[in-house]
Assembly symmetry: C2
Homo-oligomer: 240 residues x 2
């Protein structure tokens, strides 16, 4: 049995009871080194196996193999679907027909970070990853274009990395074709962890801000405003 578990932002408070239980009843916990460290603090007596970044396929195959005769928890940050391991576990499960898979959802960074900023995600929104490692850059640009055009709040995952230092700037330039430079934006770094930082700023300011890969970025819709320092999207487009 393989349980693909979302642990939320990484502290115990952000984890669901179901996630905690799934890890508790597992004999082996598998994950990316960084997340395994977070979980090990909560379950010091468990058996762990960790693999580095970009070794997703190896990690999931290992977890599936181990799950043939024991209960294995494959831990992911946030929710295990979104840019996580749940989809890959199903894809690779065709080689492991006897292993059952269960997905335990978690609070993804869009929401845990949104709560830090205020309430940016009150209304329709789109989540787009700026990483072009597994997605053609043209497809990402098209999605930014479409989401900007129809006035949805936009959440950007993986906004930057060493080899993609100017991706956030390019993304903002696409959005700026459809939205004012005064559009309310925000970002949160290290959500729910030591060194959490957040900032509310305009789209023009965001364009010229450097963020790292541990940051989640929010671009408001035409109605998003700043209330007492918080980023707040109203519930609807009519007065309530």
């Amino acid at each position: 049995m393989l349980c693909v578990v979302g642990i939320g932002a990484g502290n115990r408070e952000g984890m669901t009871f179901a996630a905690h239980q799934a890890i508790e009843r597992s004999e082996l916990i598998v994950g990316y080194t960084k997340y395994v460290e977070l979980v090990r603090e909560l379950f010091p007596d468990k058996q762990f196996a960790s693999t580095g970044m970009r070794q997703e396929r190896e990690r999931v195959e290992f977890a599936l193999r181990e799950a043939a005769d024991k209960t294995v928890a494959l831990v992911c940050s946030g929710d295990p679907q979104l840019y996580g391991m749940a989809g890959l576990a199903y894809e690779l499960s065709e080689g492991f027909p006897d292993v059952g898979i269960e997905v335990v959802s978690g609070v993804t960074a869009a929401f845990s970070g949104g709560a830090v900023l205020g309430s940016p995600l009150t209304h329709d929104f789109a989540v787009i990853s700026l990483s072009d490692l597994l997605t053609p850059a043209e497809k990402i640009r098209r999605r930014l274009e479409c989401a900007a055009e129809c006035d949805m709040v936009i959440v950007l995952y993986n906004p930057s990395s060493k080899s993609r230092a100017d991706y956030l700037q390019k993304a903002c330039d696409i959005v700026l074709k459809h939205r004012s430079g005064a559009t309310v934006c925000g970002y949160v770094r290290n959500i729910g962890r030591d060194g959490q930082e957040s900032r509310v700023l305009t789209l023009s300011e965001l364009r010229d801000t450097a963020v790292d890969m541990f940051t989640t970025v929010y671009i408001g819709n035409s109605e998003t405003k700043v209330i007492d320092g918080k980023m707040v999207t109203p519930r609807g487009y009519r007065n309530v």
Copy 2:
């Protein structure tokens, strides 16, 4: 102090530790009748106040007023930002300058329902509510059009109601202009509650299916497939 708390799908397992703690330390718990009933089962000794549907403004004002001299939890299903009360709490807080607001995020239906179906939300996606109560219908249509055009997975909230029986059909017709009728779709009704039901089906079939307001609907992207009965969106557009 007002704590706007997301309780997830409605059972204890889907709640985060932070949400549980926030309710535990509150002196009064306020919410829509249905969600207050769910929370009352977990905290039978607490004091509760509930209001009916569409009384959001009254509910939030009441909670802010009470929060002037006690700790109040305003509970929402799923996450308190998304179509919830967090945004309204900030908007109305301008009349209650002494009341502090904290938002405690929760697992929204898109993710808890997605875990039931498999892993539809592995990649970029858009969440759109079909309710035109607070949003002009033209804006909703435009968003469906844009999200369909750029091949994002689409999650529909509030897909139907008595007065909007054909809204899902109309939404599917918009998406069908850009995606094949064979596109993998799914829906989940009563997520995490008694009577939970789910189905994986094609976009053509979804178009002719009646769903109710307790249902969350998923429209896959061009890569979404069915694996052993589950709805699975691959991690990327390149082979991993």
